[in-house]
Amino acid sequence: MTRRVLALASGRIAAAVLAAIAVLALFGPLLAPHDPLATGDHPLAGASGAHWLGTDYLGRDVLSRLLDGSRVSVLGSLEVAFTALAVGAVPGILSVHLGRVFEWVTLRLADTLVALPFLLFAVAVVALLGNGLTQAMLVTGALVSPLFYRVARAATLAVARSPYVEAAIVSGASTGWIVRRHVWAKVLPPIAVALAQTVGVGFVIVSSLTFLGIGVQPPAPTWGGLLASDLGYLGHQPWAPLAPALLIMVTVWACNLLADAVRDVSGEAGRALTGRPGARPDQRSETAPAPSGGV
């Protein structure tokens, strides 16, 4: 699937952007030309040879702070996505196989989580349960997990009604074997789509929380924190929010682009397999509402 996603122009662009962001996250602190915490003599300076993106209100180098803050955003959004995957996808698959009681309970839980405004809950939980971004991301991951639950359940339902699974049941295969052998391959593409979308949502949530100053201690730089401090000096530096804002938006856009590329590829795969133009295995996931881009 990876090769076919990269065969698409949009897939290549998305992968390139996300790879660049990953490099920033891994090596950002090393690439930073200045100490991101060192205050300087020239606060609120414009772009110059020494400070490519200028300095903030304490004279700290903005580029260094951006680079240094990328790790928090990337780690946080991955935490959201993989928590949601673990919490949502597994019950989603099992809800089809484990009987009506489990199905009813998990469906109601998914309904509940969808009804909660997750940024509000993330703020509440982090503030009350301790000032760490990891807790916030785990909670947010649990709150956005219904997306994975629904996507995985829809794909599993489609497979469970197929003749070859019925044949496997008749020939006495265990539920675990059927899930591993048949269901998993069908559930994977829509889950990959949801994963890419959720990473994008995660970025927005990390940025929003750090913007509010939740989850990270003040001197440590974050993309959201940069935006928050820029807000106070718009009169002096109206262009200052541009760099962190563009970084956040480009990253979210690349995640959505990748999600679309994966969806296109797996849609074609579905057509190729069944030979029917209308039969797309991820049709349910397409009509299922995508998570919001802005929280």
Binding site: L120, L227, W253
Partner: protein, 342 residues
């Protein structure tokens, strides 16, 4: 939602009208019952989780009132005053009973009535959210419909591109850009604060326009995308081909068949957008200096004021569920698809 149909047209016998009214009423009741079946468990689970937050956090009003240096006896005395020395389930039962009566308790930080505080904030936040929804629905419907009517032309591609761009702009980023351009740069709008509608419609609109626009981008993008998709899908259906063959006008086909069938997903999206709107108000109200619901949530959470946070969460759940109920009812009324129970 009205449960009665239009007055009986001449010549239609009364029993038929009564039967139709009963039918409509039944549909509305069915939609209500379906929503209630989801609402009740949601509310129970969500309030329980919310209430468990206090025990999990280990926060206490004594810390806020007495400071970190308080003796254990003093802490115990204050906690007994607040009734926190009772068993967990008893506390939950009392609190839940109060919540059902609309009483959300008193704030740990200033002893004020939380229901009153939230009510004050809601006036601000609901003004902004309603305006944002209005912008989102109008702009989203316009963009989605135009894109679907001019599908696969440059108009469609331009709209799709525009929608993609605004869909990746988080509300707080839009908010900052709007403040920079329209308040700091052009001085067209006030950058912060709120004026109630009673003090004049102009100032009220001026204060809520920027936050509403910031919140609406996400709604515009989702409604436009969803509506375009379902309208294009509806145009491919056999009944549209049939209508064309029957010689119906394009206008009649669009309003009578395509729009009615394609409306469902876009309306359902609106129901799902509402929690996001409530959540994003935390950030936008911070940017625009509005003392609303989201700001109250953020301030209470950061102050460790547990009852206030619980109140905020309960109110947000009720808001979300009520809004979804409204969407369900509209859906049950408008779209043929939901009448079929799809």
């Amino acid at each position: 939602m009205t449960t009665t149909e239009a007055p009986a047209p001449y010549g239609v016998p009364l029993p038929a009208v009564a039967a139709r009214t009963r039918h409509t009423l039944g549909r509305v009741l069915a939609a209500l019952a379906r929503s209630a079946a989801i609402f009740v468990p949601v509310f129970l689970v969500a309030t329980f989780v919310t209430f468990a937050l206090r025990s999990l956090s280990g926060l206490s009003p004594a810390r806020i009132q007495l400071g970190e240096e308080a003796t254990p006896e003093a802490v115990a005395r204050v906690e007994a005053q607040w009734g926190l020395d009772r068993p967990f389930l008893v506390q939950y039962g009392d609190w839940f009973g109060d919540v059902l009566h609309g009483r959300l308790g008193t704030s740990w930080t200033n002893g004020a009535d939380i229901s009153t505080l939230i009510g004050l904030g809601l006036a601000v936040s609901l003004s902004v959210a309603a305006f944002a929804l209005l912008i989102g629905v109008v702009a989203g419907f316009a963009l989605g419909t135009v894109a679907a009517l001019r599908r696969t032309t440059w108009v469609d591609r331009a709209i799709t591109g525009f929608v993609t761009v605004i869909s990746v702009m988080p509300a707080f980023v839009v908010g900052i850009v709007l403040v920079t351009v329209f308040s700091v740069g052009l001085h067209l709008f006030p950058s912060a604060g709120y004026v109630p509608a009673e003090q004049g419609l102009g100032p009220w609109l001026a204060h809520i326009t920027l936050p509403a626009v910031a919140l609406s981008f996400d709604v515009v993008a989702d409604v436009a995308r969803q509506l375009r998709g379902s309208l294009v899908g509806a145009y491919r259906e056999n009944y549209v081909t049939g209508a064309v063959v029957r010689g119906l006008s394009p206008r009649r086909i669009f309003f009578g068949h395509v729009l009615r069938n394609g409306l469902g997903p876009a309306l359902a999206t609106l129901g799902l957008k509402f929690p996001a709107l409530v959540g994003a108000s935390v950030v936008t109200e911070w940017i625009f200096g509005l003392q609303g619901f989201g700001r109250f949530a953020n301030d209470s959470a950061q102050a460790g004021d547990v009852p206030a946070v619980q109140g905020v969460l309960v109110v947000s759940i009720v808001l979300v569920v009520a809004f979804n109920l409204l969407v369900d009812l509209v859906l049950a009324r408008v779209t043929p698809a939901s009448r079929r129970g799809v």
